[in-house]
Every structure is written in structure tokens, then in C-alpha cells.
Symmetry: C2
């Protein structure tokens, strides 16, 4: 059975003339044990909610996963797909992609992401289990990870979090082949990996990764511990390729004609490429169907269960009541006109949202009070209380983001997590995967400009808005007041197939928008917040805390008889998705001044050839916020002057 994985992998890489045969060949025995003796799944139903999850953290070994999907009989994974490995339009891309290939639980390839995402999945399982019981939720999360995954810093954050939370249904199978791309692992590491995991509260074991019975026994043993488990599987990379195995030459290149022939001889494999002996295939297919009865029994249990409806609502990301709650908070803001930092407005919205939307799962990377992510009724999640609904992620931004991806990909939770906007840099690789996977994760990023003041340039984002907006399929929302903050939450909740970023201030802001019945205008990305008195001479466009300055500049211009319209643009992405007529009506034809306390990058198209930008051109500084806005020239007067210069 393992040799079928080896040959399919080697042949597919050879046909593509590109790919990574070493890992699938080295971990073939472990994978065969996992999928034929251990895992609970039904290949015919890759979406069964109570299936065991499998994460190929070492995503470059994608052919291991594709081979297993084909061999077990996953409906979409035909032999044609295997033949078309790494080709345009195939279900077999170079690295496994969530949402693209049925049976792929999460997108992997960027090292360390898989194992860290799996922590979120294993946490989702325990938390759903706490909410719905053993009858509905009881499964394991298995991971295959390589040395590269474990060397990435993100894995330490995830390992540490998993140990702290006691995620005993998580089993990581480490491909301990002692080879990295540069050569032997001893070139770059001397770590005692087992001791490192033990220090983080894991159970550890070590086993010959080519002895199926020992691998099975080790996994069964680790299933019984009350800790997450690491099993070091001592393997030979590229096992079976007689001349190349055990070296880094087999990691990321086709074996080549001669070595493939030698492999066939070594394995006693007489069939041509992409053919598997009928008996072997039958054995694999039987394994793939072995979980069908369990799945059907589960279906029946769910159907009869008194929590059935709530369960399906949770898995279905039901957000309607949450959106209503956000819009109710908005109505209250319109009535109260509070002067609040948008991080505070956001917290007030959450006070209303959390009771209405039980799937919403809060958290922060150790900035809970600063981010305003915690509400009164929140109960922290711990190893002794998985029924909670707030996560203290610790100072682990990257681990938090990957964990949120896992929580969302598992289904059952809508995670949001907070840190400072400037530290979005720390979690950017995982945020990119949220976007690539189309997961509706919500990032709450506060302290969003030089407006945070004294902490200085290390904490003041200037390029982060531009950098986040550049990520495809990620909504960046920067509300200007409490009303826009409530609307932004409603948008983020509604967006269940792409991630959102809420960018919030530290400093207080006045309530500027006064509308009542024109719906959620943040959902349109940009809108006229204040029309010109007469024909527009100039349009002032601003986001977040700078909208206040733009409105004051419009007053100043009005005093000089200049009719300025003010446009709020909390989400440039959504604005660009509006139809041309709407965009034209909002932007007008008068010259434009765009105001944002950040770099211009990405705004030039709206500024246009005849417009101007008021913002930052370099790093900030340490001083009270008002002083910084003055020193960096982001002032009412500067906006008015720029406007006058254009007309």
C-alpha cells in the first residue's frame, strides 16, 4: 500500500518534470498506516463534520495527499488528476489548496502553517465537543510535519499554545529524515526536538517510520495521553530510490528516468506509470470506505439529537442575528453620538454581538484591554474549560492567525483576534492564507497610525494599510467613527468567504456620520458623508481618524467660499467593487485630496493626475499624537491648503 503512494508520487513528479518526490516516498509507510488503520473518515464524504482531520504541513509533499485521496477513492481525485499534477486547471496543484481540492483540509506549503493551523482545528474539536457533546463531536487531528515546519518560529507559538490548552486530540507525525534543502539537518540545527516539545507540555515518542506496526502502536498509544502528541518517525527521504534516497537530491526534483527505473526494480513494481495493482487498489478502497458505517450512524445520531438545529447553525456560520445586533448598536450610536476611539466603539458593538452570535470566538495576542476584544460575558477558554468563548493567545500573533485559520477551516466558529496594526507584519503569512483560502476570519487591529502617539515609530504603522490592501481577497475596513465601526462589524460578519481586517484607532473620535435610513454604507466602501454646498470645487476623501480632519477642512474651505464635498472611504476594496456609476457619483469630477495618516501607495489612482495626497512619507516618531499630526503635516490647514492649490 505504501509503495503505491511511492510510485504514484514519483511518476507524477516525473510527468510534471517538477515537484517533490522525497517526502511522499519517505512518509508513505506512515501515511498508509494512518489512512488504513487509524483515521476515522469516509472517502466518499470528505465533508463529514466528525471526520478525523489530516493536515499535510509539509505541503511540498502534496503527492502523498493526492495519492491517498485517489487510492482511498475520494470522488474528485481521479487518475487523470494525478496525471495532470501541477498543470493548469487540475485538482493537483504544486501544494495542497483548501477549497480547490475536496479532501484538502487546509492550504499548506509555506512552512509551519499546517501544524499551526491544525492547532486551531484540534481546538475547534474540543470546543465544539464541549458545546455539543461526544455524540456529535469526537475526532482527532493528525499532522505530518517536516523539519522545516518545526524550524519556523510560528510552529513554536503553535506548539506552546497547544501544550497550554492540553489539546490531546492532536497527533503530529514528524518526518524525521534529517535532511533539509541545503543538506543534512546538522548544517543548521542541533536542537533536541523531543525535549523541546516536552518543554511545551507535549507527550513525545520516537519510532521507526518504516515499520507499520510500530507506527500504529505509537499512534494508538499517543491517542490515550492527555496532552498533544509528537511522534518522531525516523525515515529515509525518498525511500525506495536506491541511489538518491537519504540525500537532499531527492527532495525537490524529479528522480529522472534512470532512477525511476531503479525504483521500480527496487520495489518490484512492474506496472507502467499511474497503474496500481488491482488487489492493492482494492485494499486501499476498502480502507477508504471503512468509515461509511460510522458516518451513517453519526448522521442518525445528529438527526435525533436535541441540539441538532444549534449544531447545524454553528457549522453553517449563521450570522444573521449577529448582523442585526451590529446594526442595532449602530442605531444606538446614531442616537447617542458618542466620542469614542473606534477600538472602544468596536468593544461596544461586541457587547451586543457576542450574545447574538454564539459562534463568534474572541481573542487577542496579549493586548486584550488595548484591543477591546473582550466583553463582560466572555469566559476564557482553558484546558479545564473548553466551553469558554475567549482565547488568551499570548504574545503569539502568528500562531493566533494560523489558529484562527484552523478554527474557521474546521467549521463551527467565526474567530476574531486582536493585536496592534503594526504587528500585522508578524502574522502576515497566515493572513495571506486566510485570504487565499477564503476564510472569513476577522482581524481586529488597533492603534492604527501615528495617532497612537508616544510609543513611537516601532509601534506606528505607516505602510501597513497599503501592505494589507495589496493582499488579494482581504477586506481592509478603517471606520471613522462609532457608526462606521458598527457597520464594519456587520460587513465583516456577512463576509463568510473572505477575511476582514478592522483597523481601529487608539484615540477618541467624534461621531461624524448622521444618516438614518440609507443602510450600511460601509458595505459600499465609500460614500459622500457631507455634500458640497453648491457645485463641488474639490472632493476631500479620507478614512478613519482623518475623516474628522477632512470635515474640518471643508468648514475652513466653506468659509473661503469653496464648496468641498467630503467622502468617507472606510474600505477601498469594497468601493472598487461598486458599479462605475456609483463610483463616479461619489468621486465626482472635481480635483481630489486624499487624506490618510499612512503612505500614499495604492491611493494614486483615486488621487489622479490633478489631485493631492496628505499623509505620511516616512516613519513616525515618539510624541503625543496631536504633536505628531502637526509635525508630519496632517492637519486641517494642510488639507485646506492642498485643496486650494488644486482649484
Amino acid at each position: 500500500m505504501a509503495n503505491a503512494i511511492r510510485m504514484l508520487s514519483a511518476d507524477a513528479v516525473e510527468a510534471a518534470n517538477s515537484g517533490h518526490p522525497g517526502m511522499p516516498m519517505g512518509m508513505a509507510d506512515v501515511a498508509a498506516v494512518l489512512f488504513s488503520r487509524i483515521m476515522k473518515y469516509d472517502a466518499a464524504a470528505p465533508d463529514w463534520p466528525d471526520r478525523d482531520r489530516f493536515v499535510l504541513s509539509a505541503g511540498h509533499g502534496s503527492m502523498l495527499l493526492y495519492s491517498v485521496l485517489y487510492l482511498t477513492g475520494s470522488p474528485a481525485m481521479t487518475l487523470d488528476q494525478i496525471r495532470n499534477f501541477r498543470q493548469w486547471g487540475s485538482l493537483t496543484p504544486g501544494h495542497p489548496e483548501y477549497g480547490h481540492t475536496p479532501g484538502v483540509e487546509t492550504t499548506t506549503g509555506p512552512l509551519g502553517q499546517g501544524i499551526s493551523t491544525a492547532v486551531g482545528m484540534a481546538l475547534a474539536e474540543r470546543m465544539l465537543n464541549a458545546r455539543f457533546g461526544d455524540e456529535l463531536v469526537s475526532h482527532f487531528t493528525y499532522v505530518i510535519a517536516g523539519d522545516g515546519c518545526l524550524m519556523e518560529g510560528i510552529s513554536q507559538e503553535a506548539i506552546s499554545l497547544a501544550g497550554h490548552l492540553g489539546l490531546n486530540r492532536l497527533v503530529v507525525l514528524w518526518d524525521d529524515n534529517r535532511i533539509t534543502i541545503d543538506g543534512d539537518t546538522e548544517l543548521s540545527t542541533s536542537e533536541d526536538t523531543l525535549a523541546r516539545f516536552e518543554a511545551a507540555g507535549w507527550s513525545v515518542a520516537s519510532v521507526d517510520g518504516h515499520d507499520p506496526d510500530l507506527v500504529e502502536a505509537a499512534i494508538r498509544n499517543e491517542q490515550l495521553t492527555d496532552k498533544p502528541s509528537l511522534i518522531a518517525c525516523r525515515t529515509v527521504i525518498g525511500k525506495g530510490a536506491p541511489n538518491k534516497q537519504g540525500t537532499h537530491h531527492v527532495h525537490g526534483s524529479p528522480l529522472g528516468k534512470d532512477e525511476i527505473a531503479a525504483l521500480r526494480q527496487e520495489l518490484g513494481w512492474t506496472l507502467p506509470p499511474f497503474e496500481v495493482p488491482a488487489e492493492t487498489l482494492a485494499t486501499w478502497r476498502a480502507a477508504g470506505a471503512a468509515g461509511a458505517d460510522a458516518r451513517k450512524a453519526w448522521d442518525a445520531r445528529v438527526e435525533a439529537h436535541h441540539k441538532r438545529d444549534a449544531f447545524w447553525r454553528a457549522l453553517g456560520d449563521d450570522v444573521d442575528a449577529g448582523i442585526d445586533a451590529a446594526m442595532a448598536a449602530r442605531a444606538q450610536f446614531l442616537a447617542d453620538k458618542p466620542k469614542l476611539a473606534t477600538r472602544q466603539s468596536s468593544q461596544k458593538v461586541l457587547e451586543a454581538l457576542i450574545p447574538a452570535c454564539p459562534s463568534l470566538l474572541g481573542g487577542s495576542a496579549d493586548l486584550t484591554g488595548s484591543n477591546g476584544t473582550l466583553v463582560k460575558r466572555h469566559v476564557p477558554v482553558s484546558r479545564d474549560h473548553y466551553a469558554g468563548d475567549y482565547l488568551h493567545y499570548g504574545v503569539r500573533e502568528h500562531g493566533m492567525a494560523a489558529c484562527m485559520n484552523g478554527l474557521a477551516a474546521h467549521t463551527g466558529f467565526i474567530p476574531y483576534g486582536g493585536t496592534f496594526l503594526v504587528f500585522s507584519d508578524y502574522m502576515r503569512p497566515a493572513m495571506r492564507l486566510s485570504a487565499l483560502m477564503g476564510l472569513g476570519v476577522i482581524y481586529v487591529l488597533t492603534h492604527d497610525s501615528i495617532g497612537l502617539g508616544e510609543d513611537g515609530p516601532t509601534h506606528q504603522p505607516v505602510e501597513h494599510l497599503a501592505a494589507l490592501r495589496a493582499i488579494p481577497n482581504l477586506l481592509v475596513l478603517r471606520p471613522a467613527d462609532a457608526v462606521e465601526t458598527a457597520e464594519s462589524w456587520a460587513v465583516a460578519l456577512a463576509e463568510r468567504s473572505r477575511p476582514s481586517v478592522l483597523v481601529l484607532t487608539r484615540q477618541g473620535l467624534p461621531q461624524l456620520t448622521t444618516r438614518q435610513d440609507d443602510g450600511n454604507l460601509v458595505a459600499r466602501g465609500g460614500y459622500v458623508v457631507r455634500d458640497a454646498d453648491g457645485n463641488r470645487a474639490v472632493t476631500l476623501i479620507a478614512t478613519g481618524s482623518e475623516l474628522m480632519l477632512a470635515c474640518q477642512a471643508a468648514d475652513l474651505l466653506a468659509a473661503d467660499g469653496i464648496a468641498a464635498a467630503v467622502v468617507s472611504m472606510p474600505c477601498r476594496d469594497l468601493f472598487q467593487e461598486q458599479d462605475a456609476a456609483y463610483r463616479k457619483a461619489v468621486l465626482g469630477t472635481a480635483p481630489r485630496v486624499v487624506v490618510e495618516a499612512a503612505v500614499v501607495d495604492g491611493w494614486e489612482g483615486i488621487v489622479g493626475d490633478s489631485g493631492a495626497f496628505v499623509g505620511m512619507t516616512g516613519f513616525g516618531a515618539s510624541a503625543p499624537a496631536e504633536r505628531l499630526f502637526t509635525e508630519f503635516g496632517i492637519t486641517v490647514q494642510a488639507i485646506a491648503n492642498k485643496a486650494k492649490g488644486l482649484i
Copy 2:
């Protein structure tokens, strides 16, 4: 002496009404021991090359460092600066800033960066020692780190690397106060930190952080080990503030009037704010001057040393011969017209550069062969061979970048390090610090677009060029052929006060530029690579691998009688620094088509209202490169069609 740190810190935070008193007060005893009994330095000469380095990784405790600088008599750190903590123009910003405040060895605040940068400093010391001997180079690197630093994933990468390299001159003092911002550390971590460091090959110890003699003994003991050392200093955060100490309430807010009064009483401190008893100050000043004799003796040793000139050249970042070598490689390329991937051209340039520029220190995050960062004469650095000149950083991009910051900030080396462009996300926080500190680190980022082909969207950067260009003070260079690659290296070498990013292709590119005597045109950022035949009807602007397409599109347009000029713009940052006349001459007044296999963000200003962009609008896909360029519409025909549409 420790109480002087406590009172200055508490009073400065109180005066600023902002800041972090808890850490300076908790670690005051440790700092007093370090600066009065342990460290080799001369406060009057903060630039003495052989001084011990001190890194405040927990940078929010900046007042600890500023207090010590004032107390020891660092010339720039006057009492006025302390009084102006966190104010505009002061030398005492919220977090310590390298290049801004004499005596600050590296910018800290973003957690985990300090300890990881310190690894680079400790490595620089060992490597310079290997090159120049004990007489010129023999010092320690001390770090104060908090729980936050150790929870960040980057610290694991750095710890692992330090253990692997056996950096025995590195001593980390962990402020083990069991408090984070959210509350007790047990909210978010259960890790056995000492065991974790031991697993990475460190020597560890534990000590009462408020007993100066025990702290001193522990440090002296750790100085003797052959491993990097971690000393857990058990402390009480905010020690001395009787009602708030030991809680997270003392972490990041002023103590308040009442608690400051209580602190004074507790410490028996009768003087008003910012006054230190004369006798205590005298003791501190004596400690600060204690290293003066050692420094003078060192001066004399250097002066008489046979390697004196080479030593000063190394510390002075002498790059002249390197630039000459790069330009000589360029001349060879002009003669040979090679068809090479720019990563290969880069490797060829390095073959010439390395012998000419001994301070250049190569490395890669386990992608050596792919990045082309290694040359034949390179010798790997290891714990047994610090005299090497190539670092196998392992799969640790973030740790690599921070390590390079430390190597550069220490002085003595010009580090360059490679990974894939898409993984710049993993090291972005440290890259930002390279830019903020103005360190001439060189990032070699290959596989720079969908042109990498089959690895698919997880490995295909589309937003990374925009995201990197948005970072202030960071040069992004994307050469189009071998000649531009050589020129880019010359630019990167010449830039000693800002970091450079070399963005290089996986795929082969023809030699397009033919100039001989017009100097380094990459240094001008953009230039006309091919003039229009007659009056320009359109200007095609491209970078990197797309320049080839633009040139072919110009041919296609010429066949239709349309005169197109082609502009190569390898570095938009440098182009924007050119004078207006030059920019105008290059860009012309005809409509423009910008071509880059990436998102448009940041190009809109050059595209202009009447121009067009040919590039990416979303993530890539897994397929051979040619297919991807066709499918995503980045083709010669598409460029020509867009151009025709504009004229």
C-alpha cells in the same frame, strides 16, 4: 543604585503620562549588577568597538536603559532628556531607537526582535574574533528579555540558531516576572522555559533577580560555559510600588500620584523627581568610567596591530572594491550577453564580489541552491569554524533577518541573506527594523512572480513587491537581466545606510540592455532602455522579467507603425529620488502602459489617468510559467493591445 533606576523610570513615565514603569522597576537590580559589576564599557565612548553589547529586548522598558545611560554618564543622555521622555525631538523615545540615541545598540519594542538581533551581534563578535584575534575582539552580548520576547516565534528561531552555533558569549537575562499584559502568564503559557532553552543547546540557570550577589555569581558562572546562556531572573514587576507591584496594572501605565508617593516612601527616597542622591550618582558615574583604561589599552593594541588596517576597513564597511567587482561583472555580461535567470546572474556577480569584499557575509534560509547565494569559495560558518563566510540559517527567515540586523548593527559585516520573495512575509517585522534603523542589510529574494510556475499560489508573490515598496527607507530592486543584476548589486553595496531587496527571477531571461559607457543606470531607478523610433506615441514601462515582454510589444507596435519607447524601472524608489527633469525625460508625455506580474498598488501614479496596467489582480495558480503568463493575460499581445487602446 537600583532604586535610582526605579525612581527615574517611575518619575519619567509619570511626567510623560505614558510609558512602562513595571519592567525597569522589576529588573533594576539586574541592570545595576550588569552595568556596575559585569559589563566592559566606557560610558564616555559608546562607540568603542570592543565594548560589551547590551540589548533591551523588552524595549517597552526603555526607561531602564535611559536611566542607566544617564547614571553611567553617557554624554548625550542628560537629565533634560530624561525629563522629556516620549516627547518630540528627545533622545528618549517610547522605545529605544538605534541611530537616534547614542548607547542604544539596536531598536527594540516589537517583541522578540532584540534577543534575535543579539544573536547576530554575538555571532559577529565570534566571527570578527576568528578573523582578528582576542586582542582586538573579545566581548560579550547581554540581553534583557521578557516573557513576550520568548513567546514570539522569532525567538525560537534565534535561540535554535544560537545554540547550533554555540554562541557562548551571549547571555540572556530573562525577566521572569510571570506577568503579561493580559494578566498572569498562566493565562496563556505553561511552557518550561528553561527546558526549552536546554533543548536548543543552551546553558540555563535560575536566580532571585533581586539579590545582586546571586545575579552577579550566576552571570560570572555562565560566562564560563561553552554555550549561550539563559538566566531566569525571578522578579516582581514594578518592584517597590507597594500596592501595584506584582500585577499587570504596573506594566504599561503611569503609577499615579498616590502610588508614586507610596513608592518614594517604600524606597526611603526623599528627593524630588529626577534627582539622584549625589553619592549614588557618583558611584554610578564611577562604574560608567571604569572601562576607560581598558578602552585606552585596546586603542593602543589596535594601533600597533599588524591587522589594524584590515580591521578598520571591516568596521568601516569598505565596499569600493566590491562595487568595482560588480561593475566588472557587468562589463563581462555586456560582452557575453548571457541568457540567465537573474538569480543565476546574481550568483555570478557574487563569485566576483566575495573575493573583493571580505566583509560580505552570505547566507540563505535553507534555499541556498535556489537563491544562488553560495559561491565556490564560500566556507560555511559553524561552532567549530567561525572563520567561515557563509551561513546556513536553516528554515528560519525571520531569525535570519534579525540576525542580519545584528551583524550589521554590530559593525564588521555586510550581511546578505536569501529566501523566496513570497517568504519576505515571514521576516517582514525584522525587515522593517532594517529600514527603521537604516542598516545596509541586503535581502536576496528569488522566485519573484508567477514565473516560478508549478509551485502555485502559496509560493507566487503577487502583492509582495507592493508591500515591500511601501516600507519607507527600503530599496526594492528588480533587475531585468544580467547587466541590471550586476548594477543592482553595486547599488546595494553602495547603500550603507538603508537596506536593499534584490528581487530575482527563477526563470531565464535574455540580455536586453546594451549600454556601455553610461554608468550604472539602475542607480537612477529607471531609464529609457529603448527609444521610440520617431515621436513617442506610447511609453511601455516594465520591471524584471516583464521588460522582455515590453520590448517584444514595442516590436509588435513598431510593425503597426506605432512608436513606443520602453522604460526599464528596476527601482521605483530610486527613480522617484531623481530630479524632475530626469523623471520627465524618461516618462515622457505620451500615455503609459506599466507592466509588472504583480498587483498594481503603488504604480497608479506612474500609470496616470490616461495610462494602463498589465499585471495581476489576484492570486496565481499552479502550472508551467508560460501557461500562467498567458492565462493571466500578461503577454506581448496584451501589452500591445493596451497600448493601442490608449492612443
